[in-house]
Amino acid sequence: MEPFISLTGVAAPMLADDINTDQITPVYRDLHPDYAKLLFARKRKRPDGSDDPDFVLNKPQFKDAKILVAGQNFGCGSSRESAVWAFVAVGIRCIIARSFADIYRDNCLKNGVLPVVLPAGDAEAFEKLVVETDGTAPFSADLRTQTVTAPGGRQFKFDIAPEDRTILLEGLDDIGLTLKHAPDIAAWEQRMQRERPWLQSLSRT
């Protein structure tokens, strides 16, 4: 996995709450879709199929956004990972939200995308700066120092669990990390085979 250390770029505000993964990437009909095109495929369009100029990521100043700023419960709904891959495909690798849906947050961590939740007291001020800046100057997010910096230099500290920070900073191979415990897994299986055999041995009648 690509590590996440820091990034600098335009921050796009999409401040609604409960943006779900059906909206982020509608169900697709192709085994290998163009994930960049899939991102908000429905919300980007007007009913007649043309681009909606009012949709934030369609606005010229946000075309190359690298940070998305969102409301509460971002990424709720379906567990589809395409809803993270699509952001990666357009170069957005940092999402700053009031809160994240549990599965979505995990999917971010598995793809080198930094999910940031600012302390409640700072979130509003930060969002205001993002809206006022309107894409005219870059923000940066640095995982080493756990800070987000606004164009004027104002810094916002954020918390992240140490285990999540390590995974992102080092770009660790999640499966490789777990496979170091292969002997523990095998031992657990053997113990269960003795203690609760119905868990380990399946057969049908």
């Binding site: 609604a16 709450d17 409960d18 779900n20 059906d22 909206q23 509608p26 169900v27 009909r29 192709d30 085994l31 429905r42 009913p47 509460q72 419960n73 709720c76 709904g77 379906s78 567990s79 589809r80 990972e81 993270v84 809160s99 849906a101 549990d102 599965i103 995990d106 999917n107 598995k110 793809n111 669990a161 140490p162 285990e163 390590t166 995974i167 660790l172 999640d174 499966i175 990390l177 777990t178 496979l179 170091k180 415990h181 292969a182 523990d184 897994i185 657990w188 299986e189 269960m192 609760r196 055999p197 119905w198 868990l199 380990q200 399946l202 057969s203 049908r204 009648t205």
Partner: protein, 465 residues
């Protein structure tokens, strides 16, 4: 110290603590579906990693399969690549696939319980957010994405941080015609779409205890809509009786040993929950969603809320919902004409669901201009329903009777409505565009959906029954 059921199951499955501080939690059962598994198979090919326990892994074709009778791989042409990649990927890895045409094919969350693959106290992984459904049997489910799926295939564990515990106590006794679906929608109305975020939810209280296993599966199905990844009802004799004799359930001495262990699966008296919610369900009416998230719920006799009186933070979303749904504040939903009715999905497609709906439909006709579709959750349910003549009841009334799968729940198989249509549906998500671009979805119980089909408008089923 008194323990919650959640902690008992979690602790019994922790294999090790990983170097990054996460618990490696063993997954007793893993069920895959064709929309997400093919990508994980490709990644396993690239990294040349094997599936650790194909014998604990099962797979279904559900999301993209057509519901039209006589279907094959290409009846829904867009599903064909997924269906074929699934077949190839499971064959080469020796994973049991419930393929199109298999007499036990169906939606993962229906098939796992009904075949006895999922058991009380087991951990269960599925690359689908509605994995939580199987909590109805007292299993601890973890819905996940594709990378996690690959991780489970390769290691049979998930690296997790322990969530907090929440209990939703459902007091009282349900009135006539009130179902698990109404209860779940009511909980959503009370705690919202992120009320359970970061928690595992135990549903308890007299209402949860009195529900059938199918009702509990319905209730737990909507846990993810509350923002929680796992939700469950402590297993009891109702659950054990339901499981006895199912194809993959333990037999003989193994069953006896399992039963003994399952009887310890409850939260101890005095166990501490991080959050507790109590809801009195005694006077609950049929519930229905009016908006575009599953917490935007009112009682069927209620009126569409006015954003002006709501929490300012919710106002923009409410206005957007009203606009999308073509509604205005203060309007009664009852009497609103409907274009489409869908009975099915992992929420409400099991035998009792179909029976409840059939009881309303029997001897009546679908109203003119309404397209009504019933899709059983599995081929097993379909067969059983046909044996009891339910297919005739629905078909005689003018419903289409489909082959098992997800169908119109997410439109992944091409079954969907047209823009502007009002659709009354037994599914779990009323998100914008989910059942077709511009389709206006109202979530209800199967009986309420049946009532809408018969009258052609949103109807309080209690007036029909």
């Amino acid at each position: 110290m008194p323990q919650t059921l959640f902690d008992k199951i979690w602790d019994a499955h922790v294999v090790a603590r990983r170097s990054d501080g996460r618990d490696l939690v063993y997954m007793d059962r893993h069920v895959l579906h064709e929309l997400h598994a093919p990508h994980a198979f490709m990644r396993l090919d690239e990294t040349k990693r094997a599936v650790r326990r194909p014998d604990l892994t099962f797979a279904v074709q559900d999301h993209t399969v057509a519901s039209r009778p006589g279907r094959d791989d290409t009846t829904n042409p867009e599903g064909a690549p997924f269906i074929r990649a699934m077949r190839a990927g499971t064959q080469s890895r020796n994973i049991r696939l419930f393929d199109i045409g298999d007499p036990e094919q169906g939606i993962s969350h229906v098939v796992g319980p009904e075949l006895g693959i999922v058991l009380p106290g087991t951990t269960y992984a599925c690359p689908d957010s509605h994995a939580c459904t199987v909590g109805g049997l007292g299993a601890l489910a973890f819905g996940c994405g594709t990378t996690e799926l690959e991780h489970v295939l390769a290691t049979q564990v998930i690296a997790l941080k322990r969530p907090k515990r929440m209990r939703v106590r459902l007091d009282g006794k349900l009135g006539r015609g009130i179902t698990a679906k109404d209860v779940a929608l009511r909980i959503l109305a009370e705690i919202g779409v992120d009320g359970g975020r970061g928690h595992a939810i135990e549903f308890a209280g007299s209402v949860a205890q009195a529900l059938s296993v199918e009702g509990r599966l319905t209730l737990c199905n909507l846990t993810i809509e509350m923002g929680a990844r796992s939700g469950f009802v402590a297993p009891d004799e109702t659950a054990f009786d339901w499981l006895a004799g199912r194809p993959w359930a333990p037999k003989g001495a193994a069953w006896d040993a399992a039963l003994k262990s399952w009887r310890t699966l409850h939260s101890d008296d005095g166990a501490i929950f991080d959050r507790e919610v109590v809801i009195d369900c005694g006077s609950l009416e049929p519930q229905i969603t009016w908006g575009i998230d599953p917490s935007q719920v009112i009682s069927v006799s209620g009126r569409v809320p006015d954003p002006a009186g709501a929490d300012p933070r919710h106002q923009p979303a409410m206005k957007r919902a009203l606009d999308y749904m073509g509604l205005s504040p203060g309007l009664a939903l009852e009497g609103l004409p409907v274009n489409r009715v869908f009975i099915g999905s992992c929420t409400n497609s099991r035998m009792p669901d179909l029976e409840e709906a059939a009881a309303i439909v029997r001897g009546r006709k679908v109203a003119q201009g309404v397209a009504a579709l019933v899709v059983p959750g599995s081929s097993t349910v379909k067969r059983e329903a046909e044996a009891r003549g339910l297919d005739r009841v629905f078909r005689d009334a003018g419903f289409a009777w489909g082959e098992a799968g997800c169908s119109m729940c997410a439109g992944g198989n091409g079954d969907k409505g047209k823009s502007g249509e009002r659709c009354v549906s037994t599914t779990n998500r009323n998100f914008e565009g989910r059942q077709g671009q511009g389709v206006r979805t109202h979530l209800v119980s199967p009986a309420m959906a049946a009532a809408a089909a018969i009258t052609g408008k949103i109807t309080d089923v209690r007036k029909l029954a």
